[in-house]
């Protein structure tokens, strides 16, 4: 019982990160029906670029807070450009190709990004400097750091901002229209290509923020960090109902909690047969179980075939 609160806190923090990344997957899927395999690497690039710019800026006399903020801006900008580039080069030409073709290019992009990162930044783990005061607080026996609080708060703010954008602005309306029916939307004067590009850039911006959060939380940056994270986030998006924004957020947070609680309690639950090293498998188990009973995910719409 004493670890419950700690596990919940950890789960919420991790879940916030998953949610941010899952949103990127779900937005792209909603509009293009495409699983953007390269998304996880964009997270990694965000972290790497932030680190690089921090290192550059620290050499100047700027205050740490400013360094941090500027680095975030640089990372977000870089990832938005990257997201835009990926869509233009690897996905747009294949918009009318067989469904699996963009999946393969996505895999190719993922490999290229990972390898480039490895070539540029090496295989080592880099430490992400602690720029801001990171005190920890004790809540009922569990510890939460200020970075972690910031992560959850920022994630909530970002998600609220995204919901506002999608539901209250003209752009958001265009995005939803394109997700519903591309042809009809274009006939109504919506510039499909622009909307798609913006969607990718938005998702990439969120990914960059997520990447920085993860690095700040764990203090390390590594060229391979995007892969597993991307996979889990995609799982979270599917769990919540792919194509559904609220689903992605719910899925992300839930997955974080499930993993955390699972890691903590798998041992006692299975009488010591399975340990926390089965944590990753546990998340997938839950996913399969949920989908069997709710085939469209938790918040996914029942797709009724209009024949």
């Amino acid at each position: 019982m004493d670890i419950l609160l700690q596990q919940i806190i950890n789960g919420l923090v991790q879940g916030s990160v998953y949610a941010l990344v899952a949103l990127g997957y779900t937005m792209v899927y909603g509009i293009l029906g495409l699983i953007n395999f390269a998304h996880g690497e964009v997270v990694m690039v965000g972290a790497m670029v932030a680190l690089a710019s921090i290192q550059v800026l620290l050499a100047t006399a700027l205050a740490p807070v400013l360094v941090f903020l500027l680095s975030i801006i640089v990372a977000v900008a870089a990832c938005m450009a990257l997201g835009y580039g990926i869509e233009r080069i690897a996905y747009r030409p294949l918009r009318h190709a067989p469904r699996l073709a963009p999946l393969i290019t996505a895999i190719g992009v993922s490999i290229v990004l990972q390898t480039l990162a490895m070539m540029i930044w090496g295989r080592e783990y880099h430490s992400f400097p602690q720029l801001l005061h990171n005190g920890s607080h004790n809540i009922g026996g569990a510890i939460i750091t200020e970075v972690q609080i910031a992560i959850v708060v920022i994630a909530i703010l970002v998600m609220l901002g995204l919901m506002l954008l999608v539901h209250r602005t003209r752009l958001g309306r265009a995005m939803r229209a394109v997700a519903e029916n591309q042809t009809a939307a274009s006939l109504m004067g919506v510039n499909i290509n622009s909307v798609i590009s913006v969607t990718f850039m938005l998702g990439s911006a969120l990914a960059a923020v997520a990447g920085i959060m993860v690095s700040a939380n764990y203090g390390i940056v590594h060229y391979y960090m995007g892969f597993m994270l991307g996979l889990k986030a995609f799982t979270a998006a599917v769990l919540g109902g792919i194509g559904n924004l609220r689903g992605a957020m719910l899925g992300g947070v839930l997955l974080g909690l499930i993993e955390s609680l699972g890691a903590g309690y798998i041992g006692p639950l299975t009488g010591g047969i399975l340990g926390s090293n089965y944590q990753d498998a546990f998340a997938f188990f839950v996913l399969i179980a949920v989908l069997i009973f709710r085939p469209s995910g938790l918040l996914g719409e029942r797709v009724s075939e209009r024949a």
């Binding site: 899927y29 029906g33 699983i35 080069i89 690897a90 030409p93 294949l94 190709a97 067989p98 469904r99 699996l100 073709a101 963009p102 999946l103 393969i104 290019t105 895999i107 190719g108 992009v109 993922s110 490999i111 290229v112 990972q114 390898t115 480039l116 490895m118 070539m119 996979l231 995609f234 799982t235 599917v238 792919i242 010591g272 047969i273 399975l274 340990g275 090293n277 089965y278 990753d280 498998a281 997938f284 188990f285 996913l287 399969i288 989908l291 069997i292 085939p295 469209s296 995910g297 797709v303 075939e305 024949a307």
Partner: protein
């Protein structure tokens, strides 16, 4: 006209047969024995790709965790023919058992999940692949079954009725080293898998699979029991994977969870899609290319840079991965339907109708 085509086909087949028969020796002489081993792996992965082709290419089921069945087959073989459990059952028993168990896993996974929509099925199969890998990696405590990350080694090499494939044999005065023997064994089995695939493709079941791939709702409305037929594709694919897995274990003498990662599943999928989904020739091409090319890149990247730049700034392994990723992107952009898609085969068939077809088309164009 038809006689000429048939004659051409016979000659081509014989020529191909001769080429394949001498291939190990030629490769050995020109490139060294290591390359014959690479060809053996190419055949194994081609078998895998053909198995996945049934699932993805014919039935249109996106499986991102196919390597799980490869792993099940391999580990079954390893457990039944190594010091791990102290069992040393003969080849002709354990290979079918591995295939059967892989098929059972396929049924277990497929039964509750094949009803899911395409991309949901994709993530579920991916998850399954990961679950298998994680279990293989951790089933060394409390009871040591899989020996965890260290894997199982000293697996009995393949032996059929006292003919051991791990030794050099002299046949007709010619020395056949182990890798050559495995080549012929794998070639024979690959041809068998190709045969089975071809038979399935042009059959009632094959058509049902393709109907489901094209439009599942319409297929079901036409009376096809989609659930059972999809399950059949899935289980068949799984059992082929199991066979390849068993062969892999016997061949390599060693299995570990590392060989059965998500990247492997993705690689096999790339072989199918890149080669030409649904087309046997394309899938074989994809399988061979995606094994041979990375190896060629790995061996050539260093010397190539040396020759071009006078030094080796980029680690060959990274360069290989980078070029591979770029190749995936470039090939799909250039040929979205794959290098050798099934449409090409169809157009070749249509060409036999020739002139009559042309006349039809012109009349049609004039009318519309």
């Amino acid at each position: 006209m038809r006689k000429i085509i048939e004659y051409k086909q016979i000659v081509t087949t014989i020529a191909l047969g001769v080429l394949l028969a001498i291939l190990p020796f030629v490769t050995d002489a020109l490139l060294g024995r290591g390359w014959v081993r690479i060809l053996d792996f190419a055949l194994l992965y081609t078998m895998l790709a053909l198995g996945l082709n049934i699932v993805v290419g014919y039935a249109g089921l996106l499986d991102l965790g196919y390597v799980a069945f490869f792993a099940v087959g391999a580990y079954t073989y390893a457990l039944l023919a190594s010091p791990q459990l102290g069992l040393h059952l003969p080849f002709w028993i354990i290979l079918p058992i591995g295939s059967l168990i892989a098929g059972i896993f396929g049924a277990l996974l497929g039964a509750p999940t094949l009803k899911l929509r395409g991309d949901y099925l994709a993530i579920v199969t991916l998850g399954f692949g990961e679950i298998i890998r994680i279990f293989l990696n951790n089933l060394n405590a409390p009871v040591n079954i899989t020996n965890g990350a260290q894997g199982i080694s000293q697996i009995d090499p393949i032996r059929i009725a006292n003919f051991s494939f791990s030794r050099t044999h002299e046949i007709f005065g010619l020395a056949f080293p182990s890798v050559h023997l495995y080549f012929y064994l794998f070639l024979a089995l690959t041809l068998l898998v190709i045969f089975v695939s071809a038979r399935l493709q042009d059959s009632r079941i094959g058509r049902a699979w393709m109907a489901i791939r094209e439009d599942e709702v319409a297929a079901e409305a036409m009376g096809i029991n989609t659930r059972n037929i999809k399950l059949l594709a899935f289980v068949m694919g799984a059992s082929f994977g199991g066979v390849a897995g068993g062969l892999f274990a016997g061949f390599q003498g060693f299995v570990s969870p590392e060989s059965f990662s998500l990247m492997e599943s993705i690689m096999i999928l790339c072989m199918v899609v890149l080669g030409g989904m649904g087309n046997i020739g394309g899938v074989v091409l994809g399988g061979v290319l995606l094994v041979v090319l990375p190896e060629a890149l790995r061996n050539g990247a260093g010397p190539l840079q040396q020759w071009l730049l006078g030094r080796t700034p980029v680690d060959p392994e990274s360069l290989r991965m980078l070029l591979f990723g770029i190749a995936l992107i470039v090939v799909m952009l250039w040929r979205p339907a794959g290098l050798w898609p099934s449409g090409v085969r169809r157009r070749e068939l249509e060409a036999v109708d020739g002139i009559a077809q042309q006349e039809q088309d012109t009349v049609y164009d004039a009318e519309h």
